[in-house]
Symmetry: C2
Subunit: 631 residues, 2 copies
């Protein structure tokens, strides 16, 4: 299948000033094409596409300001299918816009190696973000709208098509809450209330007033319409387009699932099912047959995003041996970076005085977005900002990024470059107890596609890695520590992603101690304990957990007869230890002790809990002694 984008050729059949009668023809074509591609694929969601076909036909013909030949035009409106399963409709629009061929639509949909996937992804140039996990397109759209209003200062609109079932997701309400709070009158939600979910009636059925009341209570302007009345749709979209009252618009459209084909309209049992060939033929006949209309809606006004000039700002540096928390170094480094790089923005979940993200707020308040305690929206907004070319750094307690795991996973599918920074890692945090202790975050972040996982031990390496992250593609994660520990490195030291550092080394080392974050400091103390007993240990700072410096590890183990103690302030599964062990598997013989948090911690001081967990200097030293004692 050719994936070449088709240049717009010849005059369009339908333009922004066409009569609604022509738009009705377009809507019929979108329904027919939704049926054709899904029946050809043997799967997909035609009925969920048909309910929204009238809404989208009017939008694309008359209200979406979009240059189909230049999807990167910064002045383009943005169109997100938060109900990503309605991909047949979206792809049928692409065909109607003339950028995807009918052949690709019908023969490529849902096929191996093709870009018209079951749910939209940015493999397609007209798709901003991957959807398909419900309740994510809208939070992402809030991020784009934030960029439009507060950074780009461009008048584009962000249009988000939502399904009614996904309005049960809390993330939708996080998004509407932020849309209201930030007065995003450049954001329009089109809610397709087709009443039927995957397994029967949705919670609220056709109670459009309930949806409207909820949206209004969250600060939006709700407009309730019949989602098959083209005039009403046109009027509502026009109102939304011209809205400037500081409120996002939610168009609550009462629709019929499967609308356009009487045999399935408003019938249960047709969610996520392609029509059998014979029914598809009947449906196409009922819809007036196959059409090949071209639509070109309004073009965007010319415009370039506002850009700020870069300023000089030295990276922070610290005296060797000074005690500095890596979370504080993150804040300092980010503030400095934000002066040098105008694309750097920061997002917080109401803990910036703990993560030290507040440092950037003091320098560049206009590039600091407070998401309050809403971690899904934190990552969703970061994704939307990344769509607009910004470099978001989103920070909260490391433990609370678990709240946003699905958004992080989907961010990877969206090819979004997200920089996530989690503070308060592990039992080291002490008295607050296990609810605040990240002990699963490394496993979570390592498992994400093409992710980068960093865990610096001192301020200098933290600052260097904050800089490295700014050009790193994909999802990168930096884990910071609550307590203050000595600065180990000078300001000129380099910390390439994928590297490691030998921080203690002798010619007669007999065991390698691997740590990161607080356990590196414990490993250094363990090396001192061992040295006092005449045992020399090599200590490795494994600041880059993914990718991992396998060569550096092998060299150290080669010098120490394969003896290795790896200690981590994290559960045993999926973290630093397993990363190291997996990287070495099958190579030279290994004599190993893997120290990790096994029990359920309670409160206490950091040192008490590190000792309790068996990951402090004394336990590391003891593990080394055991490896060295005759078997």
């Amino acid at each position: 299948m050719s994936h070449t984008t088709i240049p717009a050729a010849g005059p369009a059949d339908i333009t922004h000033d066409s009569e609604l009668g022509s738009v009705a023809q377009l809507a019929a074509q979108l329904r027919v094409d939704s049926i054709r591609c899904s029946t050809s694929a043997g799967s997909g969601h035609p009925s969920s596409s048909m309910s929204a076909a009238d809404l989208l036909a009017v939008l694309v013909a008359r209200h979406l300001h979009y240059d189909w030949d230049e999807p990167d035009n910064p002045a383009n409106d943005h169109l997100i299918f938060s109900k990503g399963h309605a991909s047949p409709l979206l792809y049928s629009i692409f065909k109607a816009a003339g950028v995807v061929s009918d052949e690709e639509l019908v023969k490529g949909y849902r096929r191996f190696g093709e870009r018209l996937e079951g749910h939209p992804t940015p493999e397609l140039p007209w798709v901003d973000v991957a959807t398909g996990s419900l309740g994510q397109g809208l939070p992402d759209g809030v991020g784009i709208a934030l960029a439009g209003k507060y950074l780009d200062a461009l008048d584009y609109r962000t249009w988000v098509l939502c399904g009614d079932s996904e309005f049960a997701e809390g993330s939708i309400w996080e998004a509407l809450d932020k849309a209201g709070h930030y007065h995003l009158d450049n954001l329009v939600v089109i809610l397709d209330v087709n009443r039927l979910g995957q397994r029967g009636e949705t919670e609220l059925g056709w109670d459009v007033d309930a949806y409207a009341a909820r949206a209004e209570s969250f600060g939006a302007r709700a407009i309730t319409i019949d989602g098959h009345d083209l005039t009403a749709i046109d009027e509502a979209l026009g109102q939304a387009r011209s809205a400037h009252d500081g409120r996002p618009v939610v168009i609550v459209a009462k629709t019929v699932k499967g609308a356009g084909y009487s045999a399935i309209a408003d019938q249960p049992g047709w969610h996520g099912k392609a029509l059998p060939t014979e029914m598809a033929e009947q449906a196409i006949a009922e819809l007036g047959g196959v059409r090949d209309l071209r639509v070109r809606g309004p073009r965007p006004a010319a415009g370039e995003p506002h850009t700020e000039a870069a300023q000089d700002a030295a990276a922070p540096h610290w005296e060797l041996g000074t005690k500095v928390a890596t979370r504080r170094a993150y804040g300092d480094a980010l503030a400095a970076l934000s002066r040098r790089d105008p694309l750097v923005v920061a997002l917080d979940a109401e803990v910036s005085n703990s993560t030290y993200a507040e440092q950037i707020e003091q320098v560049h308040p206009e590039r600091f977005f407070e998401m309050y305690i809403a971690e899904q929206q934190l990552v969703g907004a970061a994704t939307g900002l990344a769509v607009r070319g910004y470099k978001p750094y989103a920070s909260t307690f490391a433990a609370f990024f678990t709240r946003a795991f699905d958004f992080i996973r989907m961010g990877a599918i969206s090819h979004a470059d997200l920089r996530l920074v989690g503070s308060h890692a592990g039992v080291e945090i002490g008295a607050d107890g296990p609810s605040q202790m990240a002990l699963e975050d490394l496993a979570m972040m390592r498992s994400v596609h093409a992710s980068t996982v960093l865990y610096p031990s001192d301020a200098s390496s933290t600052a260097a890695l904050v800089q490295e992250m700014s050009t790193q593609p994909g999802i990168s994660y930096l884990r910071t520590t609550r307590g203050a520990y000595p600065v180990l490195y000078g300001p000129a030291e380099q910390f390439p992603i994928g590297g490691s550092k030998v921080v203690s080394k002798h010619d007669d080392d007999t065991v390698t101690l691997v740590g990161a974050g607080v356990t590196l400091h414990e490993s250094l103390k363990a090396a001192e304990l061992l040295a006092s007993e005449g045992i020399h240990a090599r200590v490795l700072d494994m600041y880059s957990i993914k990718p991992l410096d396998v060569e550096g590890l092998r060299t150290a183990l080669g010098a120490t007869a394969g003896r290795l103690v790896v200690a981590e302030d994290h559960h045993r599964e999926g973290g630093l230890g397993e990363a190291v062990i997996a990287a070495l598997a099958g190579s030279a013989p290994l004599r190993l002790r893997h120290l990790a948090v096994e029990g359920m911690p309670g409160s206490g001081t950091g040192p008490e809990l590190l000792a309790w967990a068996g990951i402090d200097a004394e336990h590391i030293a003891q593990a080394a002694r055991e490896l060295l004692s005759p078997q």
Copy 2:
């Protein structure tokens, strides 16, 4: 510190018919004790406790029906501090109730080895669920209220104290949505609107009307009061107690953070800070000094939960070789189990026709709870049902459990026995694309404290493991597959947790192939391919990924010269492969190939995608050949 619960001795100073003047004295004591314990600990959240002291004093004295000597009394009301950081207030209530000594309160709070942790956990017999990750106590409370109304049929109330900051969490709105949908008039939310969050004013400040409007729009009855007016509080709690109109009650209480001590009242900068000793002394003086009042509120009416009789129901069984999807076997097995075990309940996130949880709905609709598309609430409700002694099985697509990771993590801290079942694992699902493919779930679930992770390959083992899970403590997770594969085992075969099965074995095996789920079937096919070339492979079904059968693995590897191919339909990090490699690290030498999903999948058929990912039979066979070829 002695953790012995103190028996209620002597007459209480304050009872349910005491004047509100005495209750005011109790409120002052709660404030003083909140200050004393946090100042003694040097950390904690006194100001967040003081804002809610009046609300809780009236509740505990006059409206909470609770037998402090018998926290397991099934007729007890439930009290959840969703704002878990107000633990000083909660523990001060425990002291006032006479079940925790003043010494433990002041000297034990936030100390190592003590049960009065920084945030409440069920280490304390009066605490149902761990809180401290905001926005979780209310979803958990919805689960308890569901149990009370629909299963126990007891008239207890569930009272949940929420902070205003946490109302930005989407999970709160998932909870209120379900509370409205299920007409939980036995649920009372006390919203402490103290205006100040961790880093300044909350999003809505003191706009109590906005909170009330949102709550009403989600189906609750909102009662707005001054949270320091004891008469108003008493009236509102009384109304909530006697509510029977099918609506949950949300008491929106306007309060002052730090109320009771003029130096910090309504002042920013006092979140999460213990008062320095001198200020604490001033505060205690301003509050009238230290008191030692005992409170005993109303006792619960006697009552036992409704229980159903167990019925005979044979476990389902299947003919060897029949093709059955493990997701379907899960549904069948759960339906049968629910007849035998009246405590078994099921929860769905609007995909029960895909996960086959709908099977139990057909048998026991009263024990099936539809959470719609709200995965956080899915797990939160399961946690609440587990608090009441039920055995929840919560299922959705495996990928979407990432949405609930924080709830799963907190469930482990709550000591909740949760059974989670995730379907549609890996690239095997085919055309729907990566948004629907769980490729991180094994890493996520393995990283959870004391979790159990199961991944059966056929219907028989699935049914056996569904049964095993019913008595398994902690968080257990079962991964099911979309497609149908041959039944490998007879109905009498046992599948203990922590075991494995040798499914193909010869005396002259030279390589071990390890798989689970779809990759076990691919490994079996690979073994056939290899056999046709004269190479004998041992095939291991690693159905229990955590705990892992290390002995079984070692035996197989001992017989095959340490040659191992492990294939998994999951990302490389944190799944089956790393579990196997970590378990074997440091033991006999290993010659290893670890096949896992590396790239970003698109759509396609299952077989196409398994081949693309390099985890199908041909790739497994090729990896084995490479291990066997001379180096």
